[in-house]
Amino acid sequence: MNENLFASFATPTMMGLPIVILIIMFPSILFPSPNRLINNRLISIQQWLVQLTSKQMMAIHNNKGQTWTLMLMSLILFIGSTNLLGLLPHSFTPTTQLSMNLGMAIPLWAGTVFMGFRHKTKAALAHFLPQGTPIFLIPMLVIIETISLFIQPVALAVRLTANITAGHLLIHLIGGATLALMSISPSTALITFIILILLTILEFAVAMIQAYVFTLLVSLYLHDNT
């Protein structure tokens, strides 16, 4: 049971071939591109969702920040669809791998920071020192603000990884407990099963919320820096 618990997070290879690339590209099949003015139902539903989300998310940005709309929308679609597909039985979720989340977080965060330093250098540097601090605290505070700046991408990546991995692990564990309890005492197994159902509902919510949070934070960093 111990080894099996983490076996589902291993990189999928089939006969030595890394098919993880295929699994990462799989959600793109579920989003066909619209060709016409009036499309089929699948595309219409997706278009409506994307417009709703983009209006809500990009309203706070000015013109310069709104050039990032495509990037942020594809980000939230990718993370949301990958997390939701990971809730299917036996499937592999790429966002459980820290390497991939770091690969998403660091370039995006670095993009916002460099943009801020390039266009509004004084304002970007001024972020390191909040207003109204006593004079003797300034060196300390600059160090703390620098650390908190550099921890942003790591926090983005680790937050996503930890949430999704923890959710999947809990589902495995409680499901295994329900199965084991069924032969010992069916009533406890029923309670555990209800917990499993609640957990699955939570996981659906978490899958979408994590996507949202990731994208929201990137857009916040963008807002600070445009």
Partner: protein, 109 residues
């Protein structure tokens, strides 16, 4: 059969509709799977295009066949994507069967 092939290669015979040509006799390369006789099957499989371009073409044809039949219709239903998701679950099950084998309820694994 030599006379049929020679007759087939003239411009007029090439412009006949497909339903006439299948009755009159096609060369093996252009038959579809259901029209190939059982004895001709190995040579038909070997004649298929296994270059990367041919394989990509096969995937593209398969994708559009499924897409136009189940999703790109006026009243598509949830069955269109749930078939895809079910196939995805099945694929992942086959991929991880080796580890799942040990979790069955057996006395000897």
């Amino acid at each position: 059969m030599a006379s049929v092939e020679m007759w087939y290669s003239s411009p007029w015979t090439k412009s006949l509709p497909m339903r006439v040509k299948t009755k009159l006799g096609l060369p093996l390369k252009e038959k579809k799977l259901m029209e190939v006789k059982l004895g001709e099957l190995p040579s038909w499989i070997l004649m298929r295009d296994f270059t990367p371009k041919g394989i990509a073409g096969a995937f593209q044809r398969g994708y559009y066949r499924y897409y136009n039949k189940y999703i790109n219709v006026k009243k598509g239903s949830v069955a269109g994507i749930s078939m895809v998701l079910a196939a995805y679950v099945l694929f992942n099950y086959c991929r991880s069967y080796k580890e799942l084998k040990h979790e069955r309820r057996r006395k000897y694994h």
